[in-house]
């Protein structure tokens, strides 16, 4: 979890950097990214032809590279970028490049507290995970679906165990893929592996698998469920016991199954992205109760409101008492919480953000090219040329707004008491 206690929660606005001036300093400036605490803003820049670097709060990194991409701040506000120096790739963290070099790197992940940083890497045509500059001891012919545990101590991926010649469809059908956890593969292979999930205690791994061309199931620590289905989506572990749940498809309908047995007493046209509440007591999922209508089901019971286009970005409040999502109807995006759609429709809406106590919710929205926030259902009148997801103070009484005001090029962080927002 992000530790927000040490951030500056004093009310007021702070100008961090005038990004507009960066364009005068460099040949090119890419999209800016702010740190979670809002104190820093950075962008990939081109100091000269064929040179890339990073500008952070107006100061450029000392090193220049052949290429820099995927600039991201971690939860602990450290700045990372995938960098290439004379065609060798690695990760740079707060300017310091890792010692190990690879032929390519991608897919940066962070532990929830930001302490661990993990990337996927390829060297000499072999694939591996790398945690804090330490590569897996074993590498693989192919690797995808790279996943990281919440604490960042464990990494896993779908890996190819058995080589097959191009076009050898029958060898493939015997099962050539498995899951490697920290570089160690499960003992059994499958036709396909996707969607790898870690248990809340970070010790167990589940994955969606296909055991032949037709039968899908979930494998937990390498052992498939006894039951197979016509389809499965990403599994999840319960935080209350060691059980695993996953959406499964049988007879053309989707259901939620627990350890292979049907859990909910309802079937859906679609059911995916199920989540446990933080206390593990409640399960919510995005569902289509009928063709072309989408909503959220909580413990199997769908909300009465539905959306015609889609539902996405479902999230539990930290106390598990509420569920929010983004929905889209006739091209217009909106926010819904506990089955109630907030007023206002937008050109785009981002994942809702809860305060720690669950009493307040805010979401970034866009309309006519301008960005703003909706807070507890009310649209902030102030508009921004760019805004990032808002963050509540630990006590939930204040909101950290990170944005660039309309018509300006300066990036500000602003701490505002909720009571003074409207």
């Amino acid at each position: 979890m992000i530790n927000k206690q040490n951030w500056d929660w004093e009310n007021g606005e702070k100008e961090i950097a005038d990004i507009g001036t960066w364009k005068d300093k460099f040949l090119g400036v890419e999209e800016p990214y702010p740190s979670p605490d809002g104190e820093k803003i950075a962008a990939i820049v081109k100091p000269d032809e064929m040179e890339f670097s990073v500008c952070e709060n107006g100061t450029v990194w000392e090193e220049v590279y052949d290429k820099v991409w995927y600039l991201r701040f971690g939860p602990d506000n450290r700045l990372t970028a995938l960098v290439s120096d004379t065609a060798e790739w690695t990760l740079a963290v707060d300017q310091a490049a890792w010692a190990h070099r690879f032929d390519y790197v991608w897919d940066t992940h962070f532990s929830e507290d930001g302490r661990r940083i993990v990337i996927a890497a390829q060297k000499d045509g072999r694939y591996m995970g790398v945690t804090d500059d330490t590569p897996w001891e074993t590498d693989f012919e192919t690797m995808n679906n790279f996943s990281v545990s919440r604490d960042g101590e464990q990494t896993a991926a779908a890996v190819q165990i058995v080589s097959f010649q191009s076009g050898d469809i029958f060898k493939f059908q015997e099962g050539t893929y498995s899951v490697a956890v920290n570089g160690r593969a499960w003992p059994n292979n499958f036709v396909n592996v996707w969607e790898i999930a870690f248990s809340p205690d970070n010790q167990h791994v589940a994955a969606a698998i296909r055991v032949n061309l037709y039968d899908y199931t979930i494998a937990v620590d390498g052992v498939p469920w006894r039951q197979t289905f016509n389809g499965v989506w990403e599994p999840q572990f319960s935080s209350r016991d060691s059980s695993v749940t996953a959406p499964v498809r049988t007879g053309g309908k989707w259901m939620l199954a627990k350890n292979g047995e049907v859990l909910w007493d309802r079937q859906f046209v679609q059911l995916w992205h199920h989540q446990y509440s933080p206390d593990g007591a409640t399960i919510a999922a995005i569902v289509a109760p009928e063709f072309g209508r989408w909503t959220v089901a909580v413990n199997g019971k769908p909300w009465s409101i539905t959306f015609g286009d889609l539902v996405t970005d479902m999230v539990f409040s930290p106390d598990g008492a509420k569920v929010a999502c983004v929905g889209k109807e006739k091209g217009q995006w909106s926010i819904a919480i506990d089955g109630v759609r907030w007023p206002g429709a937008f050109d785009m809406a981002w994942k809702p953000v809860f305060s720690h106590d669950g009493n307040n919710v805010a979401a970034k929205v866009e309309k006519n090219g301008q960005y703003s926030l909706v807070i507890n259902g009310k649209l902030l009148q102030k508009q921004f040329d760019m805004i990032w997801n808002p963050i509540f103070s630990p006590d939930g009484d204040k909101l950290l707004i990170r944005g660039i005001k309309s018509g300006e090029t300066k990036y500000y962080r602003q701490v505002v008491p909720l009571a003074e927002l409207f």
Binding site: E30, Y70, Y104, W106, A120, N144, D309
Partner: protein
């Protein structure tokens, strides 16, 4: 068409079909067919099977029939040799029947839906052929090359076994190449909140990376806000839709749409591919439960049309060679984009000669529907089965057409083989090729 239709299997050797056949038993065939007919079909199939009056009007709609004049090649002939027999015999058909049915369904019908327009009852024969393919998939009797592509989709979520790093590396390579031409050009990767996500089919990064380059130049010149994802889900193609692996089709489309949702784009603009359009716009989205694509899908034909119409790209010089237009089935019969193709062609080319029949009546390239993806074993048959298209091309060539514009990857593959085999000596272009060549580009 009430007389018996007989055509001996051409017995083209195919490892996927032949080895698949060896694993069949009568019990497995009957059980599989009954399961599919019971669980996956209903009134639609029953209505189609019982409504057909065997008039044969569909025959003249089919390029395979017109190229052979053999009733076995007519749409109703193909149905008679496959699903009618399957339904009539309640699944009690033998392995050799399945071998022939598979070859017909996968390699002699492009699911182009031209016949549905000519049927007095509007019977969608492609739907019935897809049921046959579904049966063949479930029986494990699919052409080798097509199956390999479907397996690539399952393992990598793209059609060409492109690995996660190869994809991004290719984008960065194309960006670098394009920057030699336009210094500040970018291919923005994983840029959340861009206006649209540009999605392509895997042959683009694998074999035709210059198309990504050209698209980047067009988008840059037009000043639009766009991005391409760093993650799987970038490939909009879908051979699983054609192999009969509907479940995998669903997984592919889920990844594609959820990539767009993750990137918070307002639309997906897709490259010049026809079958992928069918998959994201019509079939795959609905299999998942979406009535329409959850994020609007704009085909390049429409996007280029809009850019030109709005004056966002300007034409510096017209393409000098005389062109003709090939209308891809999935974007023209499937979505009515034919007048947009013509607007673009007339805006960018000195002279356009129409092929006839054209627009929604145009003949298929005989590559679509996964037919070209069945690979080399069936190439000769595929080309021979479309002599009518060669005649069409020869006709416009005699009128002066030197270049064929075909805004679809599969059409390119099919037409390239036809042009080569029938010695037509014509160029083949995408709309993007022409626009890139003729447009005003920003000064470096």
């Amino acid at each position: 068409m009430t007389e018996s239709v007989s055509k001996e299997s051409s017995l083209i050797a195919d490892e996927g079909l032949d080895k698949g056949l060896a694993r069949l038993t009568s019990e497995k065939i009957e059980k599989t067919i009954k399961t599919i007919l019971t669980n996956e079909t209903g009134a639609r199939l029953k209505t189609y099977v019982s409504t057909c009056v065997h008039c044969g009007l569909c025959s003249d709609a089919c390029h395979v029939y017109l190229s052979n004049r053999d009733p076995a090649c007519s749409p109703v002939g193909k149905i008679k040799q496959t699903i009618w027999e399957i339904v009539k015999k309640k699944g009690k058909v033998d392995a050799q029947f399945i071998r022939r049915a598979s070859e017909i369904a996968y390699t002699e019908c492009n699911l182009c839906r031209r016949c549905a327009m000519y049927c007095p009852f509007g019977i969608d024969i492609s739907y019935m052929i897809l049921i046959v393919r579904r049966i063949c998939h479930k029986l494990g009797v699919t052409p080798h090359y097509l199956q390999d592509t479907a397996q690539s989709h399952s393992a990598t979520l793209n059609q060409m076994w492109v690995k996660d790093d190869e994809w991004v590396d290719t984008l960065q390579w194309q960006e670098e190449e394009a920057q030699d031409e336009i210094g500040d050009l970018r291919i923005p990767i994983d840029q959340e909140g861009a206006d649209f996500f540009y999605s392509v089919i895997a042959p683009e990064p694998k074999f035709r990376a210059q198309l990504i380059y050209q698209a980047a130049v067009i988008f840059h010149s037009a000043g639009v806000s766009w991005t391409m994802p760093a993650t799987p889900g970038w490939d909009n193609s879908d051979m699983c839709m054609f192999s009969g692996d509907n479940e995998m089709m669903g997984r592919l489309k889920k990844a594609h749409f959820e990539t767009a949702m993750r990137l918070k784009v307002k639309k997906i603009v897709m490259g010049e591919c026809g079958h992928a359009f069918r998959s994201v716009y019509d079939v795959g989205n609905r299999w998942l439960g979406f009535r329409e694509p959850p994020i609007p899908i704009i085909h390049s034909i429409q996007f280029f049309y809009e850019l030109l119409k709005e004056g966002r790209i300007k034409i510096a010089k017209k393409y000098a060679k005389t062109v003709t237009l090939h209308d891809p089935c999935n974007t023209v019969r499937g979505a009515g984009l034919h007048e947009m193709i013509r607007m673009i062609a007339h805006e960018t080319c000195e002279k356009v000669i129409e092929m006839h029949p054209n627009r929604e009546h145009n003949y298929c390239c005989n590559a679509g529907g996964g037919v070209i993806n069945c690979g080399p074993p069936f190439k000769n048959k595929r080309v021979e089965n479309n002599s009518i298209k060669a005649d069409q091309l020869r006709n416009v060539k005699e009128q002066g057409a030197e270049t064929v514009i075909a805004p679809c990857h599969n059409c390119h593959g099919g037409l390239e083989d036809i042009i080569h085999t029938y010695k037509l000596d014509m160029d083949l272009k995408f709309l993007g090729d022409i626009i890139y060549e003729c447009m005003e580009k920003p000064e470096e």
